[in-house]
């Protein structure tokens, strides 16, 4: 028992050896033991729980002892919840060690596809097999942290940077229940251990950087962002430079990633919290959002529109004026989008009272930007609901200032007429060239009359019957050739180019035996 302090810094190394002195006996209950002996029993139970069982490859093994461990964990949870002064100094290292042994493990590789192909709404997460025990360990540790007797000054010797780093690595677990516990655990640790806060923030940043720029795969981004949300909410004013850099270099680039839908609500909350704390950050945030605006991913565009509306809900009028022009240019594009959800979401901004008040204060600048997109789409958009929403938007603009609206209408018509005149001019120029060519005496000699079509009729040009038959024959021959080629063996190396091959490489590849041919048994772990 007294060697606890030394083992504290070799906690991780001890983990594989903890299956050592396994006591195949159910220890006594706390209530059956005199108060003086309870601490010793507590430590024995904790050590007993350092034994790990196999739930994955052999779920039915050691059922009796699995139940013993489960009962012990359950009892300890009740014990520290309902009793005071039971968390004494010798307990701390034992608890931390027990948690470390049970939890800090290498997560198995995911059987789900990674990156953009992983759809968190469709693919089933792989749940943790040892959850019956892990759940109790998490619960116990949380109650330990939350106990009124818990003293961070004592615990900080054992809950150190290495512990926190390993805890953070667990956030990549696919099991959402585990991540939920981890979220609460880390949240409490952040709250209680002031000395670890900077380290935790730095390590979370590193996780995000790796996620954004290297792997684009991590299951715990939403949970980490939730913790950050509560941290950001508590920032003191004026905001420190470190936090501003975090916003610009970490939170904003998180919008780039393809799997944004998994963590977008939490991310949006963090961003809005920042802007509520310091409104001078509005301009860089909005410009970054416009920079990262999705161009082909429509569901993501709808998410961006949600976030932008939340930002506009808290924006200061002076900041609004700085960003209004690029913002409404983007909104004009969204309103014209053929994807009806994007257009609807953008048009729904007009149902927001605060945004309407901001627009009406700056209508002279905003209406000329929005008007062409709205007016054009009132006639050409395919979706009828959109027509109704465009009417609402236009009507609200009309109510703001009639003259401004009339001026925009006139300008729109003038530009349309200009465009029509230009295209007419262009067509006339082509006809003129054609006539000029026809007047050339060498005309009939050079040109085959069947190729002569007027510029407008070119799209309706129909191939001749002989051309069609020739084409059909070529296609049939090509198809039969392809069938013959496919029956050959698929080569080991797919040659994309016609470069000369290296003779040694060719020999090495030819003599290679594929892995599947060599292995006869599946070496499971």
């Amino acid at each position: 028992m007294l060697t606890c302090n030394k083992t504290a810094d070799r906690m991780v190394v001890d983990a594989p050896n903890s299956n050592g002195p396994f006591q195949p006996v159910a220890l006594m209950h706390f209530r059956d033991v005199a108060p003086a002996e309870q601490e010793k029993l507590f430590i024995q139970k904790l050590r007993q729980c350092c034994v790990l069982f196999d739930f994955l490859s052999d779920p039915l093994s050691d059922l009796k002892w699995k139940e013993v461990k489960r009962a012990a964990l359950s009892e300890m949870v009740e014990y520290i919840t309902h009793n005071r002064n039971v968390i004494t100094e010798p307990i701390y290292p034992e608890v931390v060690h027990m948690f470390a042994v049970n939890m800090f493990r290498t997560l198995p590789p995911s059987s789900n596809p990674t990156g953009a192909e992983f759809d968190p709404e469709e693919d089933e997460p792989t749940l943790e097999a040892a959850w019956p025990h892990l759940q109790l360990v998490y619960e116990f540790f949380l109650r330990f942290l939350e106990s009124p007797d818990f003293q961070p000054n004592v615990a900080k010797k054992y809950i150190d940077q290495k512990f926190v780093m390993q805890l953070l690595d667990l956030f990549d677990s696919e099991d959402p229940r585990e991540r939920d516990f981890l979220k609460t655990t880390l949240h409490r640790i952040y709250g209680k251990f002031l000395g670890l806060r900077a380290y935790i923030r730095k390590h979370i940043n590193n996780i995000f950087y790796r996620f954004i720029y290297e792997t684009e795969h991590h299951n715990g981004i939403a949970e980490l962002l939730e913790i950050l949300g509560s941290i950001i909410n508590g920032f003191a004013l004026p905001l420190k430079e470190e936090h501003k850099i975090f916003l610009l270099k970490v939170l904003l680039p998180l919008h780039k990633v393809k799997s944004l839908s998994v963590y977008h609500p939490q991310l949006a909350y963090c961003v809005v919290q920042f802007l509520e704390k310091d409104s001078t950050l509005t301009e860089p945030v909005v410009m970054a959002l416009l920079k990262y605006w999705p161009k082909t991913h429509s569901p993501k565009e709808v998410m961006f529109l949600n976030e932008l509306e939340e930002i506009l809900d808290v924006i200061e009028p002076s900041e609004f004026v700085k960003v209004q022009e690029p913002l409404f240019r983007q909104l004009a594009k969204c309103v014209s989008s053929p994807h009806f959800q994007v257009a609807e979401r953008a048009l729904y901004y007009w149902n927001n009272e605060y945004i309407m008040s901001l627009i009406s204060d700056n209508a002279a600048k905003i209406l000329p930007i929005m008007f062409p997109a709205l007016y054009r789409n009132s006639k050409t958009h395919w979706n009828k609901t959109i027509h109704g929403l465009i009417y609402n938007a236009l009507k609200l603009f009309m109510e703001m200032n009639q003259k401004l609206f009339d001026d925009c209408t006139q300008q729109f018509r003038a530009e349309k007429n200009k465009e029509k005149a230009k295209s007419k001019e262009r067509e006339e120029a082509w006809v003129r060239i054609e006539n000029l060519a026809k007047s050339n005496p060498q005309f009939l000699v050079c040109v085959d009359s069947s190729d002569l079509n007027s510029p407008v009729a070119m799209e309706t040009d129909v191939p001749s019957i002989e051309d069609v038959q020739r084409l059909r024959k070529t296609v049939e021959e090509g198809a039969t050739q392809l069938q013959r080629d496919q029956r050959k063996e698929r080569p080991l190396v797919r040659r994309k180019s016609e470069l000369p091959q290296d003779i040694h490489t060719t020999k090495a590849l030819d003599s290679h035996r594929r892995g599947e041919d060599m292995l006869t048994t599946h070496d499971g772990l």
Binding site: L142, K202, N233, M356, K379, L389, Y391, N392, N401, R413
Partner: protein, 326 residues
Amino acid sequence: MDAFKLMKELRANYEQEGHYIPKETGLNLIESTSQNGGGISAKCRDAQVEDLWGLSSFFAYSTQTFVLAVNLLDRFLALMRVQPKHLSCVGLSCLHLAAQRSTLDSTLSSGHELIRIGQRRFTASDLSRMEKIVAEKLHLTASAVTPLTFLHLYHQVALSQSPSSRKEVLSLDKLEAQLKACLCRMSFSKAKPSVLALALLRHEIQAVQSDDMLEMTHHVQRHLKIADGELEHWGECVARCLSDYESPRCSRPNHRKLLWVVSRRTAHNLQTSSCCAPDLPTIPEAGWDHSQSEDLSEDLSSGEESLSSSLEGPGGYFPLHLRRRR
């Protein structure tokens, strides 16, 4: 058209215009009705005309259609006692009738579209019934003499009499927009179309400060025998109305009056995104506390207080599913 023919045309229309002016007693009745009275007040009528203006802009109807619609509406309201609840149906019927009389606009919209976009509560059969009633009561003819008729004629006269360099100065589009703004106010329904159009033209000419065109207006006024006093009076009204119209002040519109229909998916999206209150309590980044001085060497950011006291409480911060176990 040459000047002589234009003058003849003017004269002919001047003689006809009396048929198309709304009954004065009817207009007076409307103007004297208060907002809460049983009938239609001037404000109701103005609101309806503004709505029709919105719809005409949306469907890109010609000015002729809008002006004719307002003319029909005023004539009908001056003739019949209409209940406020039917006003929107009457308004839309007038617009639809006017649209059908224009060669350009007749293809542009069906009654169904007008009702749907105009967010009206009645059906297409209601609309066609009302149209029949309006057409019957007003003895509708193919065309009507409206202020726009005169405006176009005056404009042609002005152009024919001024040198080519001055042609761009007087913009017909601008005049039409100003006319529409005037028609949105009930007070102008009493004006004779010829006088109203001339007053408008004079106002614009005075704005561009063209003396020879002003001379032209005097000539027309004498030709049509329009009284000075009458022209003065309406000139003042026009000036007041247009100064209001041209003010850069933007009013706050009311989005709640409108119907916001979105698809099911967007509605669902709006519901779920609006609730994002976090369930983790805030961790304050509080001020300097001297008792924690030995920790600060590890802490990169300056000074934070101990929070163990503030986070205590009878199971107050436990995740919900653990609390329920008790």
